[in-house]
Symmetry: C2
Subunit: 112 residues, 2 copies
Amino acid sequence: MGIHIIAEFQGVDPGKISKVEKIQEVLDRVIAKSGLHAVSSSFYQFEPYGVSAVYLLSESHLSVHTWPERGYLDLDIFTCGEDGPALKAFQLLKEEFQPKSIKKRIIRRGNP
Amino acid sequence: MGIHIIAEFQGVDPGKISKVEKIQEVLDRVIAKSGLHAVSSSFYQFEPYGVSAVYLLSESHLSVHTWPERGYLDLDIFTCGEDGPALKAFQLLKEEFQPKSIKKRIIRRGNP
């Protein structure tokens, strides 16, 4: 079974989530530190601000969608195998984005 | 608010979900027909079979992970804006993959 962490970060500094460059820098760092393995990554810059980022992982995927005007970020971390790297990535993302509040759901899914 | 459809397809013909080429062909077609807009797509071929596919959409993202040896496919469709295209994509994917059973969850999330 895999773990899918679905989270909403609220009250995030808009400066941290407005542009692809910043988001990419954070996500690259978090993925490397957490022990996940990125196969590829794609980004979309909304104008004037707002980012979508999707990382294909050998463990499944990680995605972020941001609404800077509302200090809001939607996060998915879906991995198969051990839970540890996904939970570590989540912890690191909290530290990076420092949301004022978080809504989190964990779903069990994947290889039956 | 956005819609996130999380589904597990079981009892899928392994021949339909073993290789990137077939998955890509199906997903490209379904996304075009459903009115979603792909910004980019990434694929990973597991050996000897099994596929991960992630599409970054201007509406958010769509992903598929397959375990052909178990006839199993994990699907996410997350879109912001109207629900229609996501629901249509889900219906088309059912028709394409013809699973014997489906477990589906719908989560409301996104721009608050």
